[in-house]
């Protein structure tokens, strides 16, 4: 296979390549012995179809089963496509949150880091984010993708960044064990660090997880300093329900644009809220052709729900770096028509899958 057959895979997010052509090239890349990763070359025999022939475009990504559970055990070196060369090493290895057992791992090669952050930066510019303003990023780094996405976004806008790190796995463990006091103390520790930065530095952009923003909203001194200094607030890392979003935008931080980001490890980037939405519209996230495709399906049948209806979010990541097709997220969202030039669906009002309330009997009358 001549290497120029893969030229299209080097396309940037705004080069306007045909997504179906891109997907076909990606199938050739990931499933050709000279270029594919050990993981996919070994896995292809058990797929029951030949991706190089049967996947003719974005829609055919649905042929793949959801294989993301296998990413909990695969060796990192087995995930790197051979086409990058013998000496190639991933720039990063990211891990999922680890809420449903062992974390799933993904690799980020240098070219994807560039393309991924380019699309984030471009979309943040559309929201008129200031260039060169000092950022405060309050999000998990290390194994977690979101911290890296935000740091790159700041860099893309020529902005130096201050950070406050956090360990969400520890917090989840505390909460699951009912150790609420300790979880609160940890949150307090994070807020203390943020307070020092917010009062002492000219912070122009705050990027934080939803729970941290909610926590800031309870301290009037923080609300005052953020409304006074910040020119944008970016939330991400977790969901934000539409009522909380509205409260933050209209009551807590009325003077600062509040911009949502939706992403996760398997997407290998973050989607920025569509610009220009009115207050009454839900928070819409467009996909990123030709790399990230979304669909919204009925969780029982797997069929797409009608536009405007709620269903389960299915994400496919297609790049030279990785192929993570047809990943059924635990999120639900409204299906929305995507912005011009993007294949698949856009999503709105993303929320976690509803918890199942058991029918067990607890003795007593309450």
């Amino acid at each position: 296979m001549p290497m120029d057959a893969f030229t299209v895979l080097d396309a940037g997010p705004f080069d306007g390549v045909d997504p179906d052509e891109y997907v076909r090239a990606a199938m050739r890349w990931h499933f050709t012995p000279e270029t594919g990763s050990w993981y996919w070359l070994e896995r292809v025999d058990r797929l029951g179809f030949d991706p190089r022939h049967d996947v003719r475009g974005v829609a055919d990504l649905a042929l793949f089963p959801d294989l993301t559970d296998e990413l909990r055990d695969v060796r990192v070196s087995d995930l790197v496509p051979r086409g990058y060369g013998r000496q190639a090493r991933p720039l990063h290895v990211f891990e999922s949150g680890g809420t449903t057992g062992a974390p799933r791992r993904v690799v980020q090669m240098d070219d994807w880091a560039r393309h991924g952050s380019e699309q984030v930066t471009r979309r943040l510019r559309e929201h008129a984010l200031p260039v060169g303003a000092l950022w405060l990023t309050v999000a998990p780094t290390g194994p977690h993708l979101v911290g890296d996405v935000l740091q790159r976004a700041a860099a893309g806008l020529g902005s130096p960044g201050l950070g406050v790190d956090m360990d969400p796995r520890w917090v989840k463990k505390l909460v699951a064990a009912g150790r609420r006091d300790e979880a609160d103390a940890y949150t307090g520790h994070l807020v203390d660090q943020c307070r020092r930065v917010l009062h002492g530095q000219d912070i122009g952009v705050i990027a934080a997880t939803t729970p941290m923003l909610e926590r800031f909203a309870q301290d009037s001194d923080l609300v005052e300093v953020i409304n006074g200094k910040a020119r944008a607030i970016i939330w991400g890392g977790t969901h934000m329900d539409p009522d909380t979003r509205d409260l933050l935008r209209t009551e807590v931080f009325p003077d600062v644009p509040v911009i949502g980001m939706y992403g996760n490890t398997m997407m290998l980037t973050s989607l920025v809220e569509r610009g220009g939405l009115t207050a009454s519209e839900p928070c819409v996230f467009d996909p990123v052709s030709p790399y990230v495709f979304l669909s919204v399906v009925d969780p029982d049948t797997g069929r797409p729900v009608a536009e405007g209806e709620r269903g389960q979010v299915v994400v496919s990541h297609v790049s030279k770096s990785m192929l993570i097709p047809n990943n059924r997220e635990r999120d639900t969202a409204l299906r929305v028509r995507p912005a011009e030039g993007h294949a698949g669906d856009a999503v709105a009002d993303v929320s976690p899958a509803p918890a199942v309330e058991g029918a067990t009997v607890i003795a007593g009358v309450y």
Binding site: E214, A217, Q218, D246, L248, V361, G364, V365, Y366
Partner: protein, 464 residues
């Protein structure tokens, strides 16, 4: 709670710091048959946190106008149109959603109004004799003590088993606390009506709120308040056992004790009422009857009286038994059968779920007899008339009588009276022909609520 044409749903909005608040996608309240009845706005944690902040800033209700406020609110609750609902419409909705028989709901309306009217004097009953009401109370010069709040904000994580549970927090309001009520998602109508009635009577939006939330957000409310009452099962009691700011209200495990010197036949009405009055869904309904001597005739007679109660939809005026969704009824029935293994069933042994054919089912009474007073079944409290009958001997002593909210004792033994009153494991003791579910304003339910909310503070005023 805007009244709207029949084609549109009824909205139960949050009653927050700035009036009503409706979420974008309110949750559905269904009746016992699964039919949507209303749309309840469950507010997110951020809303709760900000609401608590507002409550904290608000002044206590002025003591001066308190009697008038409660008198007016009592009238509004009992007879007024609140949130677009007349009292009759309100009662019907409570009955359809909670499955509580209409007659029980109606009696509860009158009862709650009575408690509202007496809330101020009732709250004051718990004040120690030496403690002055406030700085202007002249007893202060004598006692140098003032009754003072232990905090500002009181939260209630309420249950929906009986409309009467909302009488408890009225005293907190009377004591100057600002109050946030999280309604049960099954029956939010009563707290909505009570909060709205009190607001109509003059309590400000920043002093009293109705904050419906999902299960997870309830924690934000409970932990954000200075004092909170939380209703639930043994799990809830265990969870909060070591938190001095939280008063858990768990299973009541109320009981009746009948000694050999008393003929139970003279008190059968009170026994039936203790088990099945209030439709058997209250924590003050009897879970166990302990009899000195052979309990068999009593069990047989009680079963015969309970067996004739009709299976009817809750909104039927003749209904006396609770109704719930069919699936839950079957789960309760299966649970009872498991628990009852090894006992003798006088009633309900073949299952207690009686389908009404519309997706709901009546929970029929159950009477079981255990071999002795130590049987673990005696602690199994279920939300319908379900009673365990056991023999009791003097050798069993106090042990089987502990862990009890109300003990009705049918006995002439004065030494036993003294022992029961002295027993810390029994919260309330009623002697003679009084059903376990008797309550009255100013009489403690689980000690005075003020024992949890107030403290006595030394205040000395020297020459200045």
């Amino acid at each position: 709670m805007a009244r709207v044409p029949a084609t549109e749903p009824l909205y139960l909005d949050a009653l927050g710091p700035r009036g009503t608040y409706r979420t974008r996608v309110p949750s559905t309240v269904t009746d016992v048959a699964g039919t949507p009845i209303a749309r309840l706005s469950l507010v997110p944690p951020l809303y709760v946190a900000r609401a608590i902040g507002v409550l904290r800033q608000a002044p206590p209700i002025a003591a001066a106008g308190l009697e008038t406020v409660f008198a007016t609110a009592g009238e509004v609750f009992a007879a007024g149109t609140v949130g677009g609902l007349s009292v009759r419409e309100y009662e019907r909705l409570v009955s359809r959603t909670s499955g509580t028989p209409l007659a029980v709901v109606r009696a509860a309306t009158r009862g709650t109004a009575h408690f509202v009217r007496h809330a101020a004097s009732s709250a004051d009953r718990g004040r120690p004799r030496g403690a002055a009401r406030d700085l202007s109370d002249h007893v202060l010069h004598e006692t140098h003590t003032v009754w003072a709040r232990q905090g500002d904000v009181f939260a209630v994580n309420a249950s929906g088993n009986h409309p009467g549970v909302h009488r408890a927090w009225l005293e907190a309001l009377a004591l100057g606390y600002r109050v946030a009520v999280r309604p049960s998602r099954r029956e939010p109508f009563t707290p909505y009506r009570l909060v709205a009635a009190l607001r109509q009577a003059g309590i400000r939006d920043d002093q009293l709120m109705l904050l419906p939330t999902d299960h997870a957000t309830a924690d934000t409310l409970v932990h954000g308040a200075d004092r909170a009452v939380v209703y639930g099962g043994d799990d809830v009691v265990t969870k909060y056992a070591h938190d001095a700011r939280i008063l858990p209200q768990g299973p009541g495990r109320s009981k009746i004790l009948i000694t050999a010197d008393t003929d139970w036949r003279d008190h059968l009405d009170a026994l039936v009422a203790s088990v099945a009055g209030e439709s058997g869904t209250a924590c003050v309904n009897a879970t166990a009857v302990l009899v000195e001597g052979d309990p068999t005739p009593l069990a047989e007679a009680l079963a015969a009286r309970l067996a004739v109660l009709p299976s009817l939809p809750p909104q039927d005026e003749r209904a006396r038994l609770p109704v719930c969704p069919q699936e839950r009824a079957r789960a309760l029935s299966a649970y009872l059968r498991t628990v009852a293994a090894g006992t003798h069933a006088w009633l309900g042994g073949g299952g207690i779920a009686d389908d009404l054919g519309d997706g709901s089912a009546v929970l029929r009474p159950a009477v079981h007899q255990t071999a002795n007073a130590r049987a673990p079944q005696l602690r199994t409290e279920l939300p319908f008339p379900c009673v365990w009958i056991a023999p009791w001997t003097r050798a069993d002593g106090m042990a089987p009588l502990r862990g009890t909210l109300v003990l009705s004792a049918l006995t002439r033994d004065r030494d036993l009276w003294e022992a029961l009153v002295a027993e810390p494991g029994i919260a309330n003791v009623y002697f003679g022909d009084q059903p376990t579910h008797w309550m009255s304003p100013g009489v403690p339910h689980d000690s005075y609520l003020s024992d949890f909310l107030m403290r006595s503070k030394a205040v000395y005023e020297g020459p200045s």
